[in-house]
């Protein structure tokens, strides 16, 4: 009896943020193309990957409205769950699985979580901050939503290379804290440039009647930094790693408060 065998095409793409190439596989070529567009500038030309995620797309409407994110370590694997996705990742096998709808925001969230977990073990972190490179040095502008991260990115002079307007990637490289470009964007809706540079300083943003920079030291600097670091896992080991990284960071990198009015003259203070 004649039959038809349908071989589903399995497609993949390697997205490399920082120094971490992650292979993303899906049975839906259209979704892979969507990923390639979304992470343009971060798609690796090499086939090498440190980790691999199989993405299973669920029908639209299958997601729940639960916005609470849970990241837990169970039986040798990380479980990540929110209303719009469910993911698991086994670091020892370097493999993981994501169930989500075609919404790329879900994948973005999983990648952010995975990077925070890996960075923490290398003394780095992701931070709510825009960042840019100027004259070979990176500057971070940290703050909660509405603090002015995107505004600082928009006001950046033409010779500044924008790394992100939303989530800064901080890693320890050769003993120096280094900012790396990310595709994680905010209101600017623009992927950051895939560049890196040693961090010259972190500016905690505050809006005010005039532009001014004030140094922040000690506990205030740590508090300001920790208030902007992304970490999702609640296990004691992860919390301690991030806590230690924040202390180490403020001992090596100046932290300042930048009060600013939203015009381009504020960048005259960033030297």
């Amino acid at each position: 009896m004649p039959g038809v065998t349908v071989a589903q095409q399995r497609c993949d793409v390697v997205v490399e943020i920082g120094d971490l190439p992650i292979r993303l596989c899906s049975g839906d070529p259209a979704f892979i193309r969507l990923i390639q567009d979304r992470y343009a500038g971060y798609v690796s030309s090499s086939d090498h990957a440190s980790f691999e995620f199989e993405i299973e797309l669920t029908p639209p409407g299958a997601e729940s409205v639960d916005e609470e994110l849970r990241v837990t370590w169970e039986a040798g694997r990380w479980l990540m769950e929110r209303g719009d996705f469910r993911a698991e990742w086994n670091p020892s096998t370097a493999r993981g699985r994501i169930e989500q709808t075609i919404n790329p925001y879900s994948l973005d969230s999983v990648l952010r979580i995975v990077h925070t977990l890996l960075l923490a073990r290398k003394g780095g972190f992701l931070m709510h901050a825009s960042s840019a490179i100027r004259n070979g040095r990176a500057f971070l502008f940290a703050g909660v939503s509405g603090a002015g991260k995107t505004t600082m990115a928009r006001l950046a002079p033409p010779d500044a290379a924008l790394l992100t307007d939303e989530i800064s990637y901080v890693t320890l490289q050769d003993g120096r804290y280094t900012a790396v470009g990310t595709p994680f964007f905010g209101e600017l809706a623009r992927v950051g440039e895939n560049l890196r540079a040693p961090i010259d300083g972190v500016y905690l943003l505050a809006k005010g009647p005039e532009n001014k920079v004030e140094p922040i030291a000690g506990a205030d600097a740590v508090r300001g930094l920790l208030g902007n670091i992304l970490f999702f896992a609640r296990d004691p080991e992860s919390v301690k790693l991030v806590f230690d990284a924040a202390f180490d960071f403020v001992s090596r990198v100046p932290v300042r408060r930048l009060t600013f009015v939203p015009d381009s003259r504020v960048w005259e203070l960033i030297v």
């Binding site: 506990a219 740590v222 508090r223 920790l226 609640r234 004691p236 919390v239 301690k240 806590f243 202390f247």
Partner: protein, 106 residues
Amino acid sequence: MNSKRYVARSTAIAARVLGDETMVMSAVNSTLFTLDEVATVIWESADGATPLEEIVANKICTQYDIPQEVALKDAEGLVEELAGHGLLLLSDKPIAQSTTAPGESQ
């Protein structure tokens, strides 16, 4: 209050001394606490083996000009608050547990 009270630092925290202050972060909910100079003395002495009353008498009242009764009442309020956030363990018996030396990251 007549019974002795013992206090011990939880292991589900990260803590560092910075100048006269101690910063403590709960591993349970990532809340950050800053302990002032006097609270830091109590924190560092919370070894599970020394009664709170003794900590107050030997470490607080000898260093700060505070009557024992007032200092103990304040100290009890502090340790109850910290215990409420899961940073300290309280017991009417000595608490046996390994804790990291004060000033080190835990």
